[in-house]
Every structure is written in structure tokens, then in C-alpha cells.
Symmetry: C2
Subunit: 126 residues, 2 copies
DNA sequence: ATTATTGCAAAGATTTTGCATCACC
DNA sequence: GGTGATGCAAAATCTTTGCAATAAT
């Protein structure tokens, strides 16, 4: 039986109120401003818990630590290969799973796709 | 100017001769059978080097350590969500990048896609 | 001879975990 | 009161790095 805690509420609210796909450490420092005694271990434990419950999504990108997204509706991510920014791409689910299943002996349940390139700040002006 | 070494040759050959998408540690143990003095640091350094040269691909999956693929032609990967096996999916490049670019302010250069589901060994029989 | 590469071991970076305490039900 | 969650710190895991020695050009 799961019990409420201030910490878990703050972590969940922090995630859903931001769009920068923070790392555990970024969430930790953000929440410490309101709750100075919270520990990094608690942040990690709750982020895992939220992912497990389907209330957050974990993003493992090319390098650097794991990032988290509190917006769990289906959408894609764009990673700037220069500055590392992570932006959302709101786009309908593509039908690539059914295509992939033709080339594969297993049962496909979903896919993880990251687009990468230069974000508008890093793209050369002309 | 880059110099040859037995170690680098063995690492590259090891990668291209297997299809299980090994971790650095798996490559290390495999090569130690032929070259018992090779060090894990050397394996990591050379795997990074090969990825940098375009002779290998790095796969960061949901959990567990980084994996490497010595087959660098464009193809996709299927990860069994139960046993963690990584298989190749040989499939033509999909046109999802051009679709994504319509929903995004940046310049898309490519994408990383992992399909996941149950492999044929883990899929319930009926 | 020069310098890229190695082996080793120590350090870094990130994440998990054991345990006593605290707080929710 | 029972037990799930916390804070803390230590441990675990994975990867990188400094440095003296080695080996390729």
C-alpha cells in the first residue's frame, strides 16, 4: 500500500511543470529550494517510482545522465546534437511498428525514437 | 597520426564477427582469451575510437550498460523487453525524419529508433 | 627519435541500497 | 501500531583518465 509524501508530490509536480526534460540532479536542486532537506536518493527513488507507475518517462540519450519527462502522452523528442537541448515533437504515432514487424521474428509492442540535429539556436543562420 | 595496435585490431574484429551487441565488458572478456593482458581501459578507449571513426555504433538502451554494434550499415534494433536480447532489424530507412521536421523548429539530421517487445523465445506460445 | 597506444590503478560520474528514523494510514 | 517513505552515507556500477612504460612509424 503506497502512502503519500510531500517529497513525492513535489517531485511529480516539478516534472509536470517543466519542459526541459531534467536529470535527477536538476530535479533535486530545484526541489531543494522549497524543501532543503530532501535527499538525492529520495529523488531517484521517486523518479523510478513515477516511471514504474506510468507517471513519467525515462529518456536515455547519447551521453550524459538519464533524463525524465513528466508528460506521458505519446510524443517524440528532438535532441540538439550541438547544445544537448531536448525539445518535444508533438506528432501522431507513426505506423513504423507494423513495418518493422515484417522484418522481425518477435512481437513488437512499441518503439523509442529520438530525432537529432541542430536546434534553431545552433543552426547556422544561412 | 594514428598507429596500429594488436589490441585495436582484435577489438574491431571481435565486434564485426558477432551479432549480440556486446557491452565493453563482454568484448573485454572475449579478447582476454586471446590476449590475457589487455585492459578494460584499452577496450573502452578503442570502442570510443571506433565509434568516433564510424566503425562502430553505440547503443544506449533502457537499462544496463552501453552496447556496441560493429555493423554500421543503416539498420534498426529490436530489444526484448523481457530477456534484454538485442537483435537486428534489416529494413529500409523510413521517411519519418521528413515528417518530424514539419513538427519541429530545428534541422533534423537523423533519428535513433529502438523497437521493443517480446522476442520469439519470450513470446507466450499461444 | 618521436609519439600514439598500452596496462594499471585511481578517480569520476551516476545510480542504488542498507538502515535507523519519521510520518502516514 | 504497523509499515511505507525518508535522509544519510556507503556501496555499486559503469566509464574515464593520469602516468610511466611500450611499441609503431
Amino acid at each position: 500500500m503506497t502512502k503519500r509524501s510531500i517529497q513525492r508530490d513535489l517531485i511529480k509536480n516539478n516534472l509536470t511543470s517543466r519542459y526541459d526534460h531534467p536529470t535527477a540532479d536538476m530535479v533535486y536542486h530545484s526541489i531543494r529550494q522549497k524543501l532543503p532537506n530532501i535527499s538525492l536518493g529520495t529523488v531517484y527513488r521517486n523518479l523510478r517510482f513515477l516511471v514504474e507507475q506510468g507517471d513519467a518517462v525515462s529518456l536515455k540519450l547519447g551521453d550524459g545522465p538519464e533524463r525524465f519527462d513528466g508528460h506521458v502522452h505519446p510524443h517524440y523528442h528532438f535532441i540538439c546534437s550541438q547544445c544537448g537541448a531536448v525539445e518535444d515533437i508533438e506528432m501522431d504515432e507513426l505506423s513504423i511498428c507494423s513495418q518493422a514487424s515484417k522484418h522481425c521474428s518477435g512481437e513488437i509492442q512499441g518503439h523509442i525514437t529520438y530525432f537529432y540535429g541542430l536546434c534553431k539556436d545552433c543552426k547556422p543562420k544561412h
